[in-house]
Symmetry: C2
Subunit: 423 residues, 2 copies
């Protein structure tokens, strides 16, 4: 078959779902185009470590071209998709368009501030590399400003860190900031004591890590308390202001507020004109295609997939990876004239880490916590990273941090480096 006559598969988004879909099409008789608005694939589960100065962006981000360059049926486009025209079978880009025979839509999710977009400026969320560097800048700058602040109330606000949202990202951020304050920086300042920092984790529901079993939630909370993190459960945030958070009637002055509470699906979903769930995700068919368009598949954080009765699959890397592979498989079946198959999720468990040497892991029948869960967490994450170089560097950085209690990426970059008044 002439190369130009082969079916054209367009994959929008090179996160876990899109990248594993592309790799599954490696030797297939199709032409593949991967579109992403960034030139790199990001290993998002470790992004909080970039935000807390433990790793560099390049340790967990790979150029998409580098990952796919030997896959000769595949080309990579740096482009931003703005909508999908399912009838004309075209992806509309900011600067052009691209036709497809099959589409895999994997553009993920972004922050949602529950109808309060104005909070974003005061409480950045953690989705991309630039977010992580901004959060790192804010955390480190708060300590620097506190060291020079003479007003006691302002200094206290500078040393108060509020993390909104008690899911895995919020727990991991709070644990890492606790570690920085209590262990990494203790010798670094002359005026302040970094151990005086208040780290407050705010969760609207009755427990942290709501997707984990209750006993693991309790263990995670205990680990957080050992790192001096003040865990506030049943505490919905009323409002976020510049340098303050209000929880019900309590006004907490805090120079650093981080958002880990909610996400919403990429707005691209709306252009498909199919039913969405409340978070904007596409209600996909059992084979991951969309109603009325068997050639369009939606996967990962963008898909609402009903699993075991009425429960929706969570927005986790393993879900996206398995769905990416499955969508690719279904496209190959269709190319051969076979019917598509329903997707089934193989749940291999979930993990979250809390600072140095503590974690919780739920493998279904086996539940782990403490040091053993932390070791499991380390090896699973090292294994999932792409390429020998990243595995080696990240393992070295962790061993170094473990041995020395140093954090290697304590740089304040971007934005204004200079000191401006607190408020």
């Amino acid at each position: 078959m002439n190369v130009q006559d082969r079916p054209h598969v367009v994959i929008a988004g090179a996160g876990f779902g899109g990248l594993y879909a592309a790799r599954s099409l490696k030797d297939a008789d199709v032409r593949v185009t991967v579109i992403d608005r960034r030139n790199y694939h990001l290993f998002q589960p470790l992004l909080y470590q970039v935000a807390t100065a433990g790793l560099s962006p390049a340790d967990i981000a790979y150029p998409i071209r580098g990952v796919l360059n030997r896959q000769k049926n595949t080309r990579v486009f740096l482009a931003e998709a703005t909508s999908i025209d399912v009838n004309a079978r075209k992806v509309i880009l900011q600067d052009g368009e691209i036709g497809y025979d099959y589409l895999i839509l994997a553009t993920g999710a972004c922050h949602s501030y529950f109808g309060h977009p104005e909070w974003e400026a005061y409480a950045p969320g953690l989705k991309g590399v630039d977010d992580a560097l901004e959060i790192r800048r804010r955390i480190l700058l708060a300590f620097e400003k506190a060291e020079r602040e003479t007003d006691e109330a302002k200094r206290r606000a500078l040393l108060t860190f509020v993390i909104v949202g008690g899911g895995p990202t919020g727990v991991e951020l709070a644990g890492a900031i606790g570690e920085i304050a209590c262990q990494v920086m203790v010798e670094d300042f002359r005026t302040i004591n970094s151990q005086d920092a208040r780290i407050i984790l705010v969760e609207a529901g009755p427990r942290v890590l709501p997707s984990f079993p209750e006993d693991l939630s309790a263990k995670a909370e205990a680990s957080l308390k050992r790192l001096s993190v003040d865990v506030r459960k049943n505490s919905p945030v009323t409002t976020i202001q510049p340098n303050a958070v209000v929880i019900r009637d309590e006004h907490i002055p805090a120079a650093t507020v981080l958002w880990a509470a909610g996400v919403t699906a990429s707005p691209l979903a709306r252009s498909l004109r199919v039913p969405l769930d409340r978070a904007g995700r596409v209600l996909v068919e059992p084979d991951l295609s969309i109603p009325g368009h068997p050639e369009v598949f939606v996967i990962g954080d963008l898909a609402a997939f009903v699993h075991q009765g009425d429960c929706l699959l969570p927005g986790l890397a393993p879900v996206a990876i398995q769905q990416g592979r499955h969508a690719a498989l279904n496209i190959l079946r269709k190319c051969r004239g076979l019917p598509s198959e329903a997707f089934r999720y193989a749940d291999r468990g979930s993990l979250a880490t809390i600072g140095r040497t503590a974690a919780v892991a739920n493998f279904g029948t086996v539940k782990l916590s403490g040091f053993l869960a932390w070791i499991a967490w380390i090896f699973i994450h090292i294994f999932l990273l792409i390429g020998f170089r990243s595995r080696f560097i990240v393992l070295f950085e962790w061993a170094w941090a473990y041995a020395t209690r140093h954090r290697s990426a304590r740089l304040i970059t971007g934005g204004g480096n200079t000191m401006s008044p607190v408020s």
Copy 2:
């Protein structure tokens, strides 16, 4: 002696000069305050590798607090100095002031566009981490845009890289871009051939590396040509426009223009009200102090030090390091009532590298070029890095790049990641 009664030494700037001065005062009976507008010390000789995606910023930048935290007589201030009041013995900050008994001024140099500040937007220079990330973004984005460009002339402009200035920074940048185009990216694109990139190094004078002996300049030029770098000597730049450079009458369309041609001293020098040279540097006394103020020392790139008759010392790290140590020594002598001593520079040679496996080295009696100079370059730079972690990571990254021809930090971050039209 009561701690508060000890002489107060203020060091402005934590580059090579300032940091080595502070370390030399480690066990001295003085109070030391180090002021910098950044929270990190930067190993500037390797900054071009950050700009060309070989290293991450954290590999060559260390938190100043981390370097000095065990030095109990020293505190670190993140602050921007705006002027010096030598009569009141005060450093004026953007947000306050700080008095001193002795001052070491080591705030270095910034880019100079020879009276054309408007060129800066089109041709960024390489001084700080943010500059390096911006240059990296421009280089990588140019290849991405070229891959999608259908207009032949625009694609050619996107694949043209002009580096203005044939000193060490310009030579190292041109060599690294040549390496990326000819070796790193060859399999990555489908429309363009990265080896078609034109890399033009523009030097106003008669040879590259003018501070090196003539035979080494010729060897460096030959190494650049092997990496397909077009070396234009005796070619002063007439003007720089958006997406183009004019050399005399020749108009060269180029989407990426980098500036490595000139620096000027930090504007702080002017507030001292002492004679400056044409580049704005302070004409220091033989003991590195300034005329009329034996308690103020100026070192590094900010100082114009007359060496061996009428030749000025160059703006190199070894000069700054030796001057930093010497200024600290002179302060300690003055504290003990002894006269200060004249500074004498011990020239241990200079090196520049050109892409993979080539370099030139001038150790006075011994001149090296090619592979041997490259090995010397590697070991001297690894030795000069601070701390085991950086040495280990940088050596690993180089070995990895050598073995695989990959570059580990090929990330387009900051600015706009999305594709905008060429002009």
